[in-house]
């Protein structure tokens, strides 16, 4: 058995998702997409992690784990709570953005951007300044009655060593999230347990000054598309129509901004303050 304390346990009701050990096939029949790291067919995604095992995700309801008996527990948690979870959320029809979500002055703001654009670090600074965390890394969005909502995610940050030190925390190898991926887990309070209305999506960019610029039309749509997981699989699996529809629906109802900021880890407290001030007086959110 492996503990997954980050997830909620279903005690009195039937679980929304079952995660269990079992036999996972080496391949899928008639795949729509087949690669060295994954295969996909309607309702099934098979993920390969070399000598760390295989995982099968079924119909947005089940994750089956097939790993060597001597597997490191951290490896299983890393794969289940990362790639498997986002594949499962995608099967459930959710649009999954690679973003951190934080509550700023009552507004749920998704921070997206390229790898190493500082999503988690900036969010962690905002969290330290009393902005509740809604989710780290995975932002699962759904639209109901014309309003976009985001599901609360796992209450922890995944941070590089320099980010952790900038936050005044001492790195310790026991907090590595994976033995080959030297990010550290920093836990956060789970203060939000229900879906929250998504106010804005902010794309982090390198710049000289702090500035928020509203994106519209194709620029907004193509930028939003780049923040989703499985872009390649969407293209290859021929499921681009629902994906495009979800993206355009979200871009219509949630404002998307580009946020340029000085690229200096020592200036992150200033960046967090600037953003909180912008939400307090609404001066920059045009």
């Amino acid at each position: 058995m492996i503990n997954l304390p980050e997830l909620c346990t279903a005690i009195e009701q039937s679980p929304a998702v079952t995660i269990r050990f079992g036999n996972v096939p080496l391949s899928l029949d008639n795949p729509l997409r087949s690669g060295t790291k994954s295969m996909e067919r309607p309702g099934q995604i098979l993920l390969f992690f070399g000598n760390e095992g295989r995982y099968l995700i079924n119909d947005g309801q089940e994750i089956i784990i097939d790993v060597p008996s001597d597997i490191d527990e951290k490896s299983v948690r890393f794969h289940v709570l990362g790639p498997c979870l986002r594949a499962l959320l995608g099967q459930q029809g959710l649009l999954v953005l690679h973003a951190n979500v934080v509550l700023i002055n009552g507004n749920a703001v998704a921070m997206a951007g390229e790898q190493k654009s500082g999503k988690s670090t900036l969010t962690a600074f905002l969290y330290q300044a009393n902005c509740p965390l809604i989710g780290d890394d995975l932002c699962a969005v759904f639209v109901k009655n014309g309003i976009a909502y985001v599901h609360p995610g796992i209450p922890r940050f995944k941070l590089w060593e320099d980010s952790l030190r900038a936050l005044g925390k001492e790195p310790h190898s026991s907090h590595f999230i994976h033995h080959e991926f030297q990010k550290y887990a920093l836990s956060a309070d789970k203060s939000i347990s229900e879906p929250v209305q998504l106010s804005e999506i902010i794309i982090l960019k390198k710049g000289e000054h702090h500035k928020l610029t509203r994106l519209t039309g194709m620029h907004a749509l193509s930028t939003l598309g780049k923040q989703t997981f499985y872009r390649r699989s969407v293209k290859q699996a021929g499921v681009s129509i629902p994906h495009f529809d979800r993206l355009s629906e979200l871009a219509k109802i949630v404002p998307i901004y580009e946020f340029t900021r000085p690229w200096d880890i020592n200036r992150l407290p200033e960046t967090a303050s600037w953003l909180m001030q912008a939400y307090q007086d609404n001066s920059e959110l045009v």
Partner: protein, 96 residues
């Protein structure tokens, strides 16, 4: 370069998805997974191309609807249609 005659029949391809966003018509080619943006007149033409029509019908309708010079209008429409054709978003049927 696609040479268009007045009697050529035009029809947009089904291999796309599109939406209207903040006043722009955005079309994505399913085959190429590329986005294309159209302004107001482009959006009107894109809508008209959902049904088969001749090049002449398209140009005459736009000339009536928008106050533009005929030669310039034909030139701009040809350029737009060429772009669509290159991206696999337009079928052109030459009438015998």
């Amino acid at each position: 370069m696609l040479e268009l005659n007045d009697s050529d029949i035009l029809l947009r391809s089904e291999e796309h998805v599109s939406c209207d966003l903040h006043g722009e018509t955005i079309v994505m080619s399913i085959k190429k997974s590329m986005y294309y943006s159209m302004n107001k007149i482009g959006g009107v033409m894109w809508e008209m191309l959902s049904q088969p029509l001749t090049f002449s019908q398209l140009t005459q309708t736009l000339l009536k609807r928008f106050n533009v010079n005929e030669a310039q209008c034909k030139n701009d429409i040809s350029e737009f249609l060429n772009g669509l054709h290159e991206q696999g978003l337009l079928h052109v049927f030459h009438k015998e």
